[in-house]
Symmetry: C2
DNA sequence: GTGAAAGCGCTAACAT
DNA sequence: ATGTTAGCGCTTTCAC
C-alpha cells in the first residue's frame, strides 16, 4: 500500500518531482495533461512516484493559482420536500459528471436565510451558484456576488441580470386542472396555492384560471397555505369547513397534496370518490400516496442539467421555461392501471 | 452600494490595506481578531475600507496558508430517503452553526460509489468527512484519507481506526417488535430486513429475535429486500404470497414501511386490521402515511450534532450508540389520538 | 500598535 | 522535452 514517508503529512508535488527525478513543472504537466507534452517514459515515472507517495494535489493551492475551485453551490429550501430531494440528486449527478463537487445548503424556505447563504457560500470560492429561491415576485432578489455565475431555478419569472430557469408553472397548472375538467367532468376546481402573502395571482393560479375559463367552468375556492405538507393539511381543514365543498382540488406542490390527502382521509373524505385531487411536481413519492397521486411532473433531470450548463456557459442572463407533463395515477379518479 | 473599483474583480486584502492606509498584516489582524491587537480607530478604518471595496477574503488563499478550509464532506446514500433527508437537514444546521460549509454527495446506496466519493471528496480540501455508509459487516471499509477526521454514521458496528456512531438498531428493533407483541398481543411478527445478501442476522434482525424470544413468541417470516420504498413494496408481495400470512410486520426502515403499506393497500389488505406494521426511523413523513406509521425513531438531531462534534474533537476513534424511542401512530393498531 | 517579508502548494510563462 | 521561477492572496513571525 502506498504511503507517504511521514504518515499524517500529505506529499507535495515537489516531493513527487524529486522522487521521480523531474521538475515540479513536469509533475503538473503529467497530472493535468498539459499544457506541455511529456515523454511517455517520464510520465510513467511521475505516475509511479504519485502512487508511491499517495500524492493528492492540494486543491486550495490549485484554486489559488488557477482561480477556480471545481465546486458549485446549491441552495435549496429544504431537501425534506420530495421535489427538492429529487432535484438535489439530479443536480449532484449532473455536477458529478462534470467533475464538480457541490456545496449544498438549506434555506429552510426562509428568505433571510436564503440571502445569508447567497452571501456566505461564495466565500468558499465556488465557481457558480444555483439557488432554488423562495422569493415571491414582490421580494427584492438577493444579490449574488457580481461576477459569480448564478442561476435561479424554480423561478417562473425572469430576474434582471440573472439566469433564471424553472418549470412553466402556468402550463403545468393548466394541464392539471384541464385533466380534472375534461376527463373527469368537474365543473369547478379548488386551488391550494403556495403563496400565503400574495396579492395578485401567482403563475400557478394563472394556469388554474386559464383552464377554468377556457372550459367555461367555475373557479372553486382558493386557499393560500405554505408549500409543505402541513400547509396541505391545513388546506384540507379550510376546504372542508366551506359551506359547499369542492369536488376537485389542485394543489401547487406534491408536498401540499400529501398533506391534503392526509387531512381529507383523516376527515373521512374519500379520494377520488368524494373529491378528486391533482398535485404539482410529479415526484416519485406520489406513487406511494393513498391514493396514488396524479400530478403535473417537472422535468427534474433536464432542469438540473440545464442549471449546471447555464453555470458553465457563463450565460450572464436568460430565462428558460420547462414544460410539464401529467403523470396520471388515481387521485384524480382515473382507474388503476391493469398489471 | 459598495463597489470594487473594477467591477468583476474581487478586491484583495492588499487593496483594502492601501485604502485604509495600513499594512496587509493589520487587515488580517482586524478581520480575524488577532493574533495581534489593533487600535480601535485603525480597526474602524479597515472595516470601512472593507465595506467600500466589498472585500471578501479569498478562502482558497486562506486555506492554503492555514491548512483548513472550513468545509466538511457529507456522503449519504440518497437524500430521497426521508430519513437521510432529515439527517442532511440536521447536519447542515449543526455545521452551519459552527461556521462550516458542507459538501454533500450521494452514493446512491452503491458501495462502489461511496468508495469513489470517499476518495474524491477529500481532494477538495475538506476538514472532515462524515459518511453514512451502505457497508455491510462483511464488506471491507473504504479507507478514507489518513489524517482526515472521518466519522461513519449509521454504523451499528465499530470500524477499527474510525469514529463510528449510529442508532442502537438492536434496541430500536426490539422496541418496535415488543410493542407489537405486548400491547397488541401478536404471537408472531414478520421482519422486512434491508440486507439482501446477508448470511447472518443483522443488528435489526437481532433485536427482532430478542424481542420474539423474550416474549415466547414465534419468529415470523423474514424477507430481505432493498432499504427503499420499492423494496418494501416487493416485500408486501412476498409476504402476501405466503401460505400463512403474518398478522404483524416490522420494517427496517420507514421507506420500506411506506412501500409495504402501499403494496398491502394495493392488494386490498387493511392495515392495521388485517396486518399491523411498524417501521424504523421515525421520520415525519410517517405521520402522513396511510395509516400513520408507528415507528422506532432515531434521534436525528443528536446524531448529527454528535457527528460534527466527533469531527472537531479529532477523536481518532470511538463508537457511539444512540437509543431510539417509539413514536406511536396508527399502523400498529393503536387508536388515533383524540384532538 | 504596526509593518516587512516569508512562505503555504501549485501552475504556466519563459528559458533552455 | 524538461527545468527555473514568479507569483496567486492570505497569515503570521519577527522586527520596530
Amino acid at each position: 500500500m502506498p504511503q507517504p514517508p511521514e504518515p499524517g503529512r500529505r506529499a507535495t508535488a515537489a516531493e513527487v518531482a524529486r522522487l521521480a527525478g523531474v521538475s515540479p513543472a513536469v509533475v503538473s504537466y503529467v497530472l493535468n495533461g498539459g499544457p506541455r507534452p511529456v515523454a511517455p517514459a517520464t510520465a510513467e515515472r511521475v505516475r509511479e512516484a504519485v502512487r508511491q507517495l499517495d500524492y493528492r494535489p492540494n486543491r486550495a493551492a490549485r484554486a489559488l493559482r488557477v482561480g477556480s475551485t471545481g465546486m458549485v453551490g446549491l441552495i435549496l429550501p429544504s431537501v425534506t420536500n420530495p421535489f427538492f430531494a429529487a432535484f438535489s440528486e439530479a443536480f449532484q449527478a449532473a455536477a458529478h459528471g462534470l467533475g464538480l463537487a457541490v456545496i449544498a445548503a438549506s434555506s429552510d424556505a426562509v428568505l433571510d436565510q436564503e440571502w445569508q447563504l447567497v452571501e456566505s457560500l461564495p466565500r468558499h470560492g465556488i465557481d457558480g451558484l444555483v439557488v432554488a429561491t423562495v422569493m415571491h415576485p414582490t421580494d427584492s432578489p438577493a444579490m449574488p456576488d457580481p461576477g459569480l455565475p448564478t442561476v435561479v431555478v424554480n423561478a417562473p419569472f425572469p430576474v434582471p441580470g440573472l439566469h433564471t430557469l424553472g418549470p412553466d408553472t402556468t402550463q403545468g397548472a393548466r394541464l392539471a386542472v384541464e385533466h380534472l375538467l375534461t376527463v373527469h367532468g368537474h365543473r369547478s376546481v379548488a386551488l391550494v396555492s403556495g403563496e400565503p402573502g400574495a396579492q395578485r395571482l401567482g403563475s400557478r393560479e394563472l394556469g388554474w384560471q386559464q383552464a377554468i375559463t377556457a372550459h367555461g367552468a367555475e373557479p372553486g375556492p382558493l386557499v393560500r397555505v405554505p408549500f409543505d405538507r402541513s400547509g396541505g393539511q391545513a388546506a384540507a381543514g379550510q376546504l372542508l369547513a366551506l359551506p359547499v365543498r369542492p369536488t376537485a382540488v389542485f394543489a401547487s406542490s406534491d408536498a401540499q397534496a400529501f398533506g391534503l390527502l392526509h387531512g381529507l382521509r383523516t376527515a373521512g373524505v374519500r379520494v377520488p370518490e368524494d373529491v378528486a385531487v391533482v398535485g404539482f411536481d410529479g415526484t416519485d413519492d406520489g406513487a406511494y400516496a393513498a391514493p396514488p397521486l396524479t400530478s403535473a411532473r417537472q422535468p427534474v433531470t433536464a432542469m438540473a442539467e440545464a442549471a449546471i450548463e447555464a453555470l458553465q456557459q457563463q450565460t450572464a442572463s436568460g430565462h428558460q421555461l420547462f414544460a410539464l407533463d401529467l403523470v396520471v395515477r388515481e387521485s384524480c379518479g382515473c382507474p388503476r392501471p391493469d398489471r
